[in-house]
């Protein structure tokens, strides 16, 4: 008798009707959004504070580069000694004082620059000052050496290497970034999904054990069926939760940005648009981001995402189910968690570090075939274009391993669910497989 649909239905409904599940589903996006808005709001507050910086330029070489903007006002002081300037800055509650020594020589003047402040100054301000000073002083230095600055500027050439594969597919640097974001998001999503819902499966197996209902159930159902039903039912609940999160998230984001006028999402986009209008170069960049999105192997990406997601998730969740069956309570699961988490973490780090460096290098290629890391690593690689045979082979290996793990997990599950009061060791587990 096939009871799989019945078991899936029960698992799904119990998960979805569970109070903490409902609370998690509806409250956590709220918390996330509130957190994001608070952060966005605080950043805005921080940015809105205008900094007052005093400038004492005794050399008289550079004071004219400091033009006040909406974040910083520069107050150029004159006819003061350094001590007077310090006292004045302190009194006027200036953020700090930039002092350039009394040297007409550009090189000596550049060595004499100092910044005084109450607290250690913000990094961005210092680097801003540095870049202003550098440009001005370099130009002065060039002039001193008899070089025409205008000519240099006019002769500057900017290079943006156009990339194209042998098959004629055009790519660019922005393409790589977009690909990285897509691959990274897919891999990371899988990683999170496995950890959250794998744990949920494990807990539900333990629950059946501790409530002692398990023997009643497996006198009507094959343990493998029960295990698969649990895995599938829990995954469906997980997908439901994810979809609800997406919907609530987007609704809340819109509502909040309308009500509070905080442009959580749009601000960066709008900035970009505004700048794009002003600057044709950035305009081209925005266009290239949009075009690189359409350049992505989207069909391949979607199919691969679905297949590797399911494969990888089933592989790991069967292991979680086996662990749940082997122990009596959640505290005993610790010793078995490490071997599961390690390959997952490894996959994410390999994905993040080696795939960025070289998506088709030896390390990333090898790990995109090893079944315990392949779902994550392969998903990160695919946006960069992986030959179909490689994807196919990797998937076949994944499915083969998955079937092996399910068989192995089912063995442990079958014996484990009827074992009480023993804290099993790995040796014990291997013995169970032989029963």
């Amino acid at each position: 008798m096939n009871h799989l649909p019945l078991i899936i239905k029960r698992e799904y409904l119990t998960k979805v009707k569970n109070k903490s599940f409902i609370v998690m589903t509806f409250v956590s996006p709220l918390i996330m959004i509130i957190l994001a808005s608070v952060v966005a709001y605080l950043t805005q507050l921080n940015n809105e504070k205008v900094r007052n910086v005093s400038i004492l330029d005794e050399s008289g070489l550079v004071y004219d580069v400091f033009k006040s903007n909406d974040k910083t006002t520069f107050n150029v002081l004159s006819n003061m000694s350094i001590d007077e300037a310090k006292a004045f800055s302190k009194e006027s509650e200036a953020y700090g004082l930039l002092h350039i020594g009394d040297f007409k020589d550009v090189k000596r003047a550049s060595k004499s620059i100092q910044f005084y402040s109450e607290e250690s100054p913000s990094l961005s301000l210092i680097s801003d000052l540095e870049s202003k000073l550098e440009t001005k002083l370099t130009n002065l230095n060039l002039l001193d050496n008899g070089v025409d600055v205008d000519m240099i500027n006019a002769s500057k050439i900017s290079v943006n290497i156009a990339q194209e594969s042998f098959q004629g597919e055009k790519t660019s640097k922005t393409d790589s970034v977009v690909k990285l974001i897509f691959g990274g998001a897919a891999g990371y999503l899988l990683f999170m999904f496995i950890i959250i819902y794998g744990n949920m499966i494990m807990r539900s197996v333990i629950e059946e054990k501790t409530s002692r209902i398990i023997e009643v159930i497996i006198s009507s159902v094959k343990p493998v069926q029960l295990m698969l039903g649990k895995i599938i039912g829990t995954s469906l609940a997980g997908i439901t939760q994810f979809i609800i999160w997406l919907i609530i998230g987007s609704i809340l984001l819109t509502v909040i940005s309308v009500i509070f006028g905080i442009n959580v999402v749009q601000s960066s986009q709008q900035d970009m648009m505004n700048q794009a209008m002003a600057n044709p170069e950035i305009n081209a960049q925005v266009q290239s981001i949009i075009s690189s999105f359409y350049n992505l192997p989207l069909t391949n990406l979607i199919f691969a995402f679905i297949l590797f997601f399911i494969g990888g998730y089933l592989l790991y969740s069967s292991l979680y189910a086996a662990i749940g069956a082997a122990v009596d309570n959640e505290t005993d699961t610790q010793q078995f968690m490490l071997p599961i988490i390690t390959p997952l973490m490894l996959a994410v780090y390999i994905g993040l570090f080696t795939v960025i460096e070289d998506p088709h290098g030896t390390v990333s290629t090898i790990f995109s075939f090893i079944p315990f890391t392949s779902p994550v690593v392969m998903l990160m690689r695919i946006p960069f274009g992986v030959p179909l045979w490689q994807q196919g082979l990797s998937f076949v290996i994944l499915v083969a391993t998955f079937m092996l793990t399910v068989w192995f997990a089912a063995k442990i599950y079958r014996v484990g669910i009827l074992m009480y009061g023993k804290k099993p060791s790995y040796k014990e587990l291997i013995k169970w497989i032989k029963y």
Binding site: S211, R212, Y435
Partner: protein
């Protein structure tokens, strides 16, 4: 009478441990069969093999002359010793789920559940969660779920644990009624008085081996020791006692009497008739008590297991 269940030469090993060693058991149709044995003897393993939870390493199990297979799952109702229900699931939903797993349709299951809930007067529990019920209440629901699909074979492992005497009696009556309706019952327990009361046949398993089985009454005959408990009032009890102990093997007996009688267990030699003993005794005094000692299941259990060691 034909047998409903035939277990033939079944063995099962767990690693190096042999849990069952060539065990054969036949269970007649319509009987209540007591499966007895000390803790860890292998009873649960045998029950799990019949339920197809574990597979035997060797040997066969037949139900109704058919080799045990998946279709038999719906023919068996099993109440395990280690039992429980989903704590946070509603009673009704849970019972429906378990009944559907046994192959009942949802509407059929609902109808029968209504009948049983009314019968056991637990109708208003339908929407309660198990964690709101007492242990005995949960046990009642479990009993209902076990018998709901009207299986041919019912297996009860310690069915009365957790019940108060009133409810235990209620369940006992239900079991007897189910037998009358044609079910065969396997009954595993350590409570010997309920075996005495309910079982027609028994099998005794000790240390993975079956060491005794058959009709309870035959086993009792086999174990009878031809001993009679006697109460007699003579002129001088001491002289009579001396006289009797020269003729028979006697031992002191202990039972309640109204007068100051001589109380003895008298064992007859093989072939001697109890009538001769009674006739002899009437010549010696006034007989107020004359009962054949029938070995209790408890005695048989303890004696057999001890001899087996």
């Amino acid at each position: 009478m034909s047998n409903l269940l035939e277990v033939n030469q079944v063995s099962k090993n767990f690693g190096n441990f042999r849990a069952l060693n060539n065990v054969s058991v036949s269970i007649p149709k319509g009987s209540i069969f007591g499966l007895l044995g000390p803790n860890g003897a292998g009873k649960t393993t045998l029950i799990r093999i019949i339920n197809q939870i574990t597979m035997p390493d060797s040997g066969t199990v037949h139900i109704d002359n058919e080799l045990l297979n998946e279709n038999h799952i719906k023919d068996i109702g099993y109440l395990p010793e280690e039992r429980g229900l989903y704590k946070s699931m509603k009673v009704g939903d849970q019972a429906l789920y378990l009944a559907q797993l046994k192959g009942l349709s949802k509407s059929e299951a609902k109808e029968r559940l209504k009948y049983w809930f009314e019968r056991l007067e637990i109708g208003d529990w339908w929407n309660k969660k198990i964690q709101e019920l007492s242990k005995g209440m949960a046990q009642k629901i479990q009993f209902v779920v076990t018998v709901l699909h009207q299986p041919k074979l019912l297996i009860f492992d310690e069915p009365f644990s957790g019940f108060d005497p009133i409810n235990a009696n209620l369940i006992k009556d239900e079991i007897l009624r189910l037998r009358e309706d044609g079910a065969t019952v396997i009954f595993s327990t350590h409570r010997m008085e309920s075996v005495e009361e309910l079982c027609d046949d028994i099998a005794l398993i000790n240390k993975s081996n079956k060491i005794l089985d058959g009709k309870l009454i035959d086993i009792k005959r086999q174990y009878k020791i031809n001993t009679f408990e006697v109460g007699i009032k003579a002129n001088d009890n001491a002289i009579l006692k001396h006289e009797l102990s020269e003729k028979f093997a006697v031992s002191p007996a202990n039972f309640k009497t109204l007068d100051n009688e001589l109380k003895l267990n008298i064992q007859l030699s093989n072939g001697a008739s109890p009538n001769d003993l009674l006739n002899y005794l009437t010549t010696k005094g006034e007989v107020s008590h004359f009962v054949e000692l029938i070995p209790s299941v408890n005695d048989i259990f303890i004696q057999t297991v001890k001899n087996n060691q």
